[in-house]
Amino acid sequence: MTRVILGRLVQASLVALMVGLLTFVMTRSLPGDMAYRIAAGRYGYDIVDSAAAAKVAAELNIDQPALVALGHWMFDLVRFDFGTSLISGLPVIEEIASQLGHTLKLAFAAIVLSLLIGPPLGILAGLRPGGVLDRGLVVLSTSVRALPQFVVGLGLIIIFSLTFKLVPAAGHDHGAHLFLPALTLALGLAAVSNRVARDAMRSVSETSFYAFGRTKGLGEWQVFRRHGLRNVAVPIITYLGVQFVYLIEGVVVVETLFAWPGIGHALVHAIFGRDVPMIQGAALIMGLMFVALNALVDALSHVIDPRERRS
């Protein structure tokens, strides 16, 4: 277990390293003279002259070599000191804190919804491989996986909001707004997790201990609860970890589509406006969220699967 935790810590520092390097290159490639820009920010655009810029450059050590600057940059990053947004003027950390709440709510709802849709259907299909449900699910999940998330989202908007007028299409005022974006993400996740559950259920139901459970007279539900559930849960949970890439990427697109005020939405807008401090903060927090979710999966599979603990 300590090795797993250590691995995740290494991953988290790699995330910080990548985000730091990329945003550093981003600031260096911004057009214009850095000293002039900062001086303009301090004294106003009208009264900046070369003397003011030179003073700023001397004071902030702007002419220091790139490597030293990179060192300072990374040091600020690991202290979560992102500075202020170039667009709204507010500290990045405050903006991100509120956005993170929205994103976590969306991600959590999506995971729960996907677990309610995918695995139960997959388990039913796995109990009767080759049946109508099984074959129907193959077609359905292949189709969903062949569509980008924003198309699934658009389809849901057209069905639920425009045609039946059941839920609002976009916004974030009350609970109903959460439904469509969460469902969009959940369908994508469930399209994979139902196949995983189906394969797992099929291999478990073919084992001799499962057959024995049936032969000794346990009912279908009892034998599943006693001998099936835990065995099926392990690959589903493990696979959730793989799917988090899809979830994080989906958050960026789906939040933008549904105008959900989370980190993905903020990241896209920051990139649009070349708001480097905001890009840095949002990307770092999303990357760390990815690591944290994976660590959660590690912990869960540790709890469910006693075989892991022994080795």
């Binding site: 790699l14 990548m18 896209v268 649009f272």
Partner: protein, 272 residues
């Protein structure tokens, strides 16, 4: 008694799904590249008189909101998506496989070094990396290409390394080495037959996710900029006209669906 008894059973012919996938892909390629040969309407030429006109005998795909030929725009967008995706897959595959073989062969410091770099690329979800690269130099398809290749190479590297390591330790490779065959022979004769099926699978899935990523970035308006025809950007452009002209919105969706479906069918591993 024949020698064939010793040969492990191999699937003969190509599985049906792969044939279907290849057929769809071939049709899409034909649709995308035929206008280059025969000549067709200009994808950028506007004619507001034709705005949102539905399919007709002269123009099977109709026109978009600015009266541009949907057929010309779709095939241009397909060329962009497929071309960029295939280019990134090849760019990722060649160094990925070579580095994987090198790491498995040499081991030691080299293995750890390349392994560490690949870990760094895996730590971030791919789309985040591509997004940040496009932020460095905006409005540039080169950054899109670079970003997608940088995300994809890791998988080739890791799978090649994992496959090659036990193979290189096997008695048959040792025998070849003792007989005086060089590294090139060992790669071609011992490694390639095992690597090739994996490359087809990973390559087509990689191309599918590259196409999805390009479309997603176009959709959130940070990828390819208008007026360049791009499937995701076309969808966001045509969305406001969904009521008047559903055919226009549905066409790019259908194209991307077919393209990804074809690649997934090609990549799917045969199983019971």
């Amino acid at each position: 008694m024949t020698f064939t008894d010793d040969v492990p059973p191999r699937a003969t012919g190509i599985p049906v799904r792969r044939v279907i996938g290849l057929a769809i892909l071939a049709a899409l390629l034909l649709f995308a590249f035929l206008p280059l040969v025969t000549g067709g309407p200009d994808p950028l030429k506007q004619s507001l008189r034709l705005s949102l006109q539905g399919p007709s005998a002269s123009a099977w795909f109709g026109y978009d909101h600015l009266g541009r030929s949907m057929q010309a725009r779709l095939s241009a967008a397909l060329r962009l998506s497929l071309g960029l995706a295939l280019l990134s897959v090849v760019t990722a595959m060649v160094p990925g496989v070579l580095l994987g073989i090198a790491a498995a062969w040499r081991g030691g410091v080299l293995d750890e070094m390349i392994g560490g770099i690949s870990e760094a690329f895996m730590a971030l979800p791919g789309l985040l990396l591509v997004l940040m690269l496009t932020a460095i130099v905006p409005d540039n398809a080169m950054m899109l290409y670079l970003g997608i290749s940088l995300v994809l190479w890791v998988e080739y590297f890791r799978l090649t390394r994992a496959l090659a390591r036990p193979l290189l330790l096997s008695p048959s490779v040792e025998a070849s080495g003792l007989l005086g065959f060089g590294p090139w022979y060992i790669v071609r004769r011992h490694l390639w037959p095992e690597l090739a099926p994996m490359l087809v699978t990973v390559g087509s899935y990689g191309a599918a996710s590259a196409i999805m990523a390009i479309a997603a970035l176009g959709f959130v308006s940070v990828g390819v900029r208008p007026p360049t025809p791009e499937l995701g950007a076309m969808m966001i452009e045509l969305l406001p006209y969904y009521e008047e002209a559903p055919h226009a919105l549905l066409q790019p969706i259908a194209v991307i669906f077919l393209m990804v479906l074809a690649l997934q069918l090609i990549g799917a591993k045969e199983k019971a």
